[in-house]
Symmetry: C2
Subunit: 145 residues, 2 copies
């Protein structure tokens, strides 16, 4: 197997880039709020923005599996960032609410998330972001059944 082909290198680069981004973002976030992961923060943000979505839909937004979502929300409930109650219109669903504690955390998280993105994109032009977007979308389409 050729370990030096461009195709090998590029997936290596994508992988390492996203890992570096996650790691640095998590660090900045942990400095600000103890006991909170990037993903939990993002999910909190999605819940805030789309309060009517089901767990399954939030999961899709965050590229999670329903099973992962269930477990993450269990944790977030235990940590008192959210509460869940059965949705009377459709009793298979939950109605998820962000607690005051959750809202406060979200407030303090927002600038961290924005700053993580800004920092990661320092020196990257709008045009480059568009190129990135275009090329990656093509790859994603190739990999999507």
């Amino acid at each position: 197997m050729n370990f030096k082909s461009p195709s090998e290198i590029i997936f290596y680069t994508i992988e390492s880039t996203i890992k570096a981004y996650r790691k640095s973002s998590q660090k900045n976030l942990s400095d600000k709020v103890k006991d909170m992961t990037i993903d939990q923060g993002l999910i909190l943000a999605y819940l805030d923005r789309y309060p009517e979505k089901t767990q399954k839909e939030i999961a899709a937004l965050a590229f999670k599996d329903s099973a992962s979502m269930t477990r993450m929300l269990n944790l977030m409930e235990k940590k008192e960032y959210i509460t869940r109650s059965i949705n009377p219109e459709n009793r298979r669903r939950f109605h998820i609410e962000i607690t005051t504690k959750g809202k406060n955390v979200l407030q303090s998280l927002a600038p961290v998330i924005i700053n993580n993105r800004k920092n990661a994109l320092e020196g990257v032009s709008e045009e480059e972001i568009e190129q990135l977007e275009t090329i990656l979308s093509k790859i994603r389409a190739n990999c999507t059944p």
Copy 2:
């Protein structure tokens, strides 16, 4: 928090692309070899190519943590893809050997991995790969302490 900024979208795209790639690669791989993950396959390939590297070094190549590597190698040992013996030159290290079974699996995996890459990059020019490489490296550098 603005959920529609380019900076938000681009990380979403990177994330979804790599997930789609992993998922489709894993599927192709599972069709060929039962009970083998992409990462285990890659690690097998690295072990084959760099037989003298330590677990820690292999871990770094594959963007794993030493702890994860230990557990993955335990599994791979249990599945009889590798054997580990203490390296007499430095008894903190292991000498890892790929078993015949491991070598056979590796053989059948190689074309799958190559094909996964080829398929994912269908319609992506060399120039685009270079652009991707350049831009992502910039982002990674921004996120690397």
